[in-house]
Symmetry: C2
Subunit: 419 residues, 2 copies
């Protein structure tokens, strides 16, 4: 395809936001411009917004190199995100006709979607539909999720920064716990995101080092959670130390398959993909510990802070997110469709990694869990293999651009009102 | 007093930990050594630990300039803290005899206590007792509290770093809130520490800038909290925007004097000074909003993260904490007793401040509130005067010393076990 034939690109962000998703957006934009595309449109609130005709010209947002640097340091989906699930093609073709009409109207050659496994379902269906209808638009996915649960990729952009924030915050929480003595000791339970995969919760172990013991126990959602055994673990730990810190995944379930969070009185918000908003796991466990052991407790939910903490982003993560965005754009430019960019690790130490493209059909709707042998036999910690895996992903910093003592984010007047 | 007569110093940390309290400890140590004292002891868990004979020689902890830099960047009370309230002198002299015996045994000339208003009660009583008994030991207080509620000082070390963390995190939470659209909008309620004083909650307004509207409402504990009016405010805000972010103090009370947190099912942990552990305020309000308005809600407690986040400390704060520690040591060395060092602001812009010493009797057990005219008339925000006041205190960064991607803290093998 000769350069003069190139028309436009559209890019969207989908699923839960991260501290790195905008760095991928900056990468897509830069590579699209470098490769000679005329316009780079951004979907407002992903494919759901696109269907309502909501998009923006990204050249109005990224006008300078400084804008691109600000965008890389801006948390959350700059363009707005969505959790929209496309119908199956045989169920409802109207939705597809509508989307492809808009792509046609905008003279789109390449459609890049930055998201997790649910979002790759969108790339899969749209690329399938393009094949069925003979459309020349290429659809390529760019991985993103703090959950790190995408198949076929070594890890996902967004995970490293969240892991760094979790490790740092848990270490600070542990120190804070040393300060005050309490009569019967205290148990601090930190609740970490990750419905089914324990990548984020395991990152609490990053607090461990020469100057910190790390959390005293870590419970991932990969294994069923036995409350009596957990209580026994707390009792044992309290015999040895005054302040016990335990990290739990929001998604831990009792052996009969019930979320621990549901045992309390948490609200049950359910999104379009049927995922519940799980909170209250740590709170419920703290209540049980306080009641049965009679010690002081404190539950701490890292909540959306862990996915939005650009001020503590990992340099490796932000740079990889940028590269992966560029690689997705490059793949689409070179004719790939129905693909997702993956990161392949070449070496742990020194850390080296590159990108490849893989068939999105093998990725969409799948979830990659922490391997059983990266969790200790008794199920209360991660192994050194886990740490060797995650450590390179949290290296280096991306200094925030500070204005008046607070990190600056990219902002274009009037755009926020469109979100 | 000639230099050769100088003997030893003892320093303790008391009350809730902060990100700056160890910088004051480093300042006390440095000035004590510079002024020719032989040993600088650290009380382990404040005066409560001291009474049990628990102390350490700080020269074993701060051996190099690098150790001092690490200490300045270490959150939480390095020496351990306490919430011990001394009895009134006429009630129980045994406690005092015990403490003064230990001070005598350790050949102490100067007793420095880093803490908040409860801790200044300790300085007041010990210096009174010294006068009554003719002891030559000098007792000087060094201010510390994230709550910023000490009388007679412009502000307290620890506040600036907490304010910076709150402003930064609330800004990231606001951005995160833009990402996903929900049918009926969403209300995110951020719960900030500060039982009676709204200095920390007001700092949420620091999120406001050219690139962010800031939180949509801020409720300080200085004013009574009217739930129906709050609900009306939420309804009004939801008409104008899809994602509403509100900051509330953990200590807000209904007009009949009941903590909002008590309306939920929060646990009632009460410390030695009779203070309740207030949590669940945001959660309770989210439940009410979800029930009455039917929109998505999310409650976020900044919890101990806001007082322990050394990774996001303010340079002004950390340096002032260090200076104030040195000033307390200097005052004691020069013969002051029953005093606390205060910070006096000379100018907002350029920010200039110095230290003075004040009578601790005028400070102990008092609480300084946010002035009524620094809160808007309708009680739902802070005014520009508040921002002008707090803005200089969050300026500049103290880059963490990173090891393997995580901030390093000061650690001496074997010491943690003594805590």
């Amino acid at each position: 395809m000769s350069k003069k034939e190139k028309r436009n690109v559209i890019v969207g962000q989908s699923g839960g936001p991260t501290a790195a998703i905008n760095s991928s957006l900056a990468g897509v934009f830069r590579t699209a411009i470098d490769r000679g595309y005329k316009k780079v449109y951004g979907m407002i609130h992903g494919v759901q917004g696109l269907m309502e005709g909501r998009y923006t010209d990204l050249s109005e947002h990224i006008r300078t190199g400084l804008d691109a640097e600000l965008l890389k340091r801006t948390p959350s989906a700059y363009l707005g995100s969505c959790r929209y699930k496309l119908p199956d093609i045989h169920e409802d073709q109207e939705v597809y006709k509508k989307i492809f009409q808009i792509l046609d109207d905008l003279e789109i050659d390449c459609f890049i979607y930055i998201g997790g496994n649910d979002s790759m379902d969108t790339i899969k269906k749209l690329s399938d539909y393009a094949i069925l209808t003979g459309s020349a638009v290429r659809f390529v996915g760019c991985p993103k999720t703090i959950d790190n649960d995408l198949a076929l990729t070594d890890h996902t952009p967004g995970y490293g920064s969240a892991a760094k924030y979790i490790g740092t915050s848990v270490k600070e929480i542990i120190r804070d716990g040393w300060s005050l003595e309490t009569k019967n000791g205290q148990v601090i339970i930190v609740e970490v995101m990750g419905r089914n995969a324990g990548w984020l919760t395991g990152a609490a172990a990053l607090a461990k080092g020469e100057d910190c013991d790390g959390p005293d126990a870590i419970y991932l959602p990969e294994l069923s959670f036995d409350i009596p055994k957990f209580m026994e673990k707390c009792r044992q730990l309290l015999k040895k130390k005054a302040s016990v810190v335990i990290a739990v995944s929001e998604g831990i379930k009792t052996p009969d398959g019930k979320y621990v969070s549901e045992l309390g009185n948490a609200t049950d918000y359910v999104d379009a993909f049927g995922h519940k908003q799980l909170t209250g796991t740590a709170r419920y466990l703290c209540d049980v510990v306080a009641k049965e052991i009679g010690c002081k407790t404190r539950s701490i939910e890292l909540s959306t802070l862990q996915r939005a903490a650009s001020h503590s982003a990992s340099r490796v993560d932000i740079l990889e997110a940028y590269e992966v965005g560029g690689a997705a754009m490059k793949a689409a430019d070179e004719g790939d469709s129905g693909k997702m960019v993956v990161i392949q690790r070449l070496s742990d130490d020194p850390y080296q990694a590159g990108t490849e493209v893989k068939d999105v059909h093998k990725i969409a709707n799948d979830e990659r869990m922490v391997p059983r042998d990266w969790i200790t036999k008794d199920g209360t910690y991660v192994t050194s293999e886990f740490i060797t895996y995650v450590r390179p992903l949290i290296q280096g910093d991306v200094a925030p651009i500070m204005v008046d003592g607070i990190p600056r984010h990219l902002f274009v007047p009037g755009f926020q009102e469109q979100l």
